[in-house]
């Protein structure tokens, strides 16, 4: 697994402090919630809702940092800080990259969960 997808130290620390079983449940919650957040991000972009756009990116960033999903978190943070771009294509491109990073993070987290 690429170390930038999930930071092993963060994930281990999380398991140590909260308990491995609990973290497995938390991964499930993350896998349930994030697709909805990505949808929110897309729809906020379509509607030009700057607050909703920033908030969805913020939540994805926050969750990524919890699990040590570094690449995903960095992309989400960029979107949060930049906000709506005047050129919608730029945002759609960023969201596509975020979606791809999420797919990587989800696969890696499932692997870690099922160890």
């Amino acid at each position: 697994m690429n170390a930038s997808i999930i930071d092993a130290a963060t994930y281990t620390e999380l398991q140590e402090s909260a308990g491995a079983d609990f973290v497995a449940e938390l991964v499930d919650t993350f896998l349930e919630e994030t697709p909805a957040l990505l949808d929110e991000l897309r729809s906020a972009r379509r509607l030009g809702d700057a607050d909703g756009f920033r908030r969805a990116a913020h939540s994805i960033k926050s969750n990524s940092q919890t699990f040590g999903a570094l690449a995903l978190g960095a992309l989400a943070r960029d979107i949060e800080l930049q906000g709506l771009h005047p050129d919608m294509a730029v945002d759609l491109h960023a969201i596509a990259a975020l979606q791809a990073a999420y797919a990587d993070a989800a696969a890696a987290l499932k692997e870690l969960r099922d160890v």
Partner: protein
């Protein structure tokens, strides 16, 4: 609180964060409730005031409906919730946002992902601060009144007064000295305690504040430190309730073969200067002014006319016509330059 852990509220729109924080706090022995936005959090905090109040709030900033800044603003404006310690847990970007949280009264700021060890330390510090603050408030409450304590909490303690419109009440027990001579001191203390409980209850339930007790006498103020819409009506209704309470108390005393208590009450309304007098170390909340003197004179005058409740013209003028009163005409009271109109209130 310490035995069952503290009761904490976590407000965060992000489910992963909510679950993780709750887990961490439960592992530390606390009881945790969850709110998914600021509006729900405020509702829960307010509802819990009546039974199992929260000891601390962990607050996220980015939330839909009402964000963390909005929650902090509302808490600051809410007298009952102002003392609640708030720890902001967020990964908001920018120092300016953190500064804003602290300016709005947040106790502490913890960046996310929240470190469990740091979280424990901050929560314990927040709870300890709250415990000290509660203890201090409790002391003020015991030695002052709840209203004065609130006023102090709101505007701080400062010697000096401000001019307010208020109704002032004096009340005492008739023939108390001879009663004291005929019974044991223990009996007198018990009598006074029961009497004061009844009188305080009647006065407080109508928005009045007892600010002095001397022997069998007391002084109460309606309209300060907290303003009342109808101080005259409140004072007179309190006096009527005091009179009913005394009648009930006397029925009990009669059954025990004891003599009845007789009480006199005087009420006057007008400008008073209300505030703290004394020194920085020891001060009392009091009211000063001609209105206060008049109320004391009216109370003394109840003895002469054998009426329980006497009020001045200003109090009378503000009363609803449903209150039955009896004009005693202009009376020359001790210490007054000219005669004043006096009214007796009938039960």
């Amino acid at each position: 609180m310490s035995e069952r852990g503290a009761r904490l509220l976590v407000a965060d729109d992000n489910k992963v964060n909510r679950l993780l924080l709750a887990r961490s706090l439960e592992q530390q022995g606390h009881r945790v409730a969850l709110a998914e936005n600021g509006r729900i959090a405020l509702d829960m905090l307010r509802q819990a005031l009546h039974s199992d109040a929260f000891d601390l709030l962990l607050l996220d900033i980015e939330m839909p409906e009402l964000d963390g800044f909005g929650v902090l603003e509302q808490l600051k404006a809410d007298r009952a919730l102002r003392g609640l310690p708030v720890i902001v847990t967020s990964c908001v970007e920018g120092l300016a946002n953190i500064v804003r949280c602290i300016e709005l009264g947040a106790e502490d700021y913890l960046p996310k992902p929240v470190n469990a060890v740091l979280l424990r330390a901050r929560i314990n510090a927040g709870l300890e601060k709250k415990r000290l603050r509660d203890q201090q408030q409790e002391l003020v409450r015991r030695f002052a009144t709840a209203e004065v304590a609130q006023d102090m909490a709101q505007s701080g303690f400062a010697l000096g007064g401000r001019r307010v419109q208020a109704s002032v009440m004096f009340s005492d027990i008739r023939g108390f000295t001879s009663m004291v001579e005929q019974q044991s001191p223990e009996e007198t203390i018990e009598l006074l305690n029961t009497y004061y409980i009844l009188m305080f209850d009647a006065i407080n339930s109508h928005g009045g504040v007892v600010n002095q007790m001397v022997g069998d006498g007391l002084m109460a103020v309606f309209g300060a430190p907290l303003a009342l819409a109808d101080p005259c009506g409140c004072a007179v209704r309190a006096a009527l309730e005091m009179s009913e309470s005394v009648a009930l108390f006397n029925a009990d005393r009669q059954a025990e073969g004891k003599p009845p208590l007789k009480v006199g009450i005087g009420i006057a309304t007008g400008d008073v200067v209300a505030g703290y007098t004394g020194t920085q170390q020891r001060a009392t909340y009091t009211c000063i002014g001609d209105t206060v003197n008049l109320a004391a004179r009216l109370e003394a005058y109840t003895k002469q006319v054998q009426r329980m409740i006497l009020i001045d013209a200003a109090t009378h003028a503000a009363l609803s016509p449903r209150v039955r009163t009896d004009a005693l005409g202009p009376v020359q009271l001790k210490g007054k330059a000219g005669p004043v109109d006096v009214f007796a209130v009938d039960r």
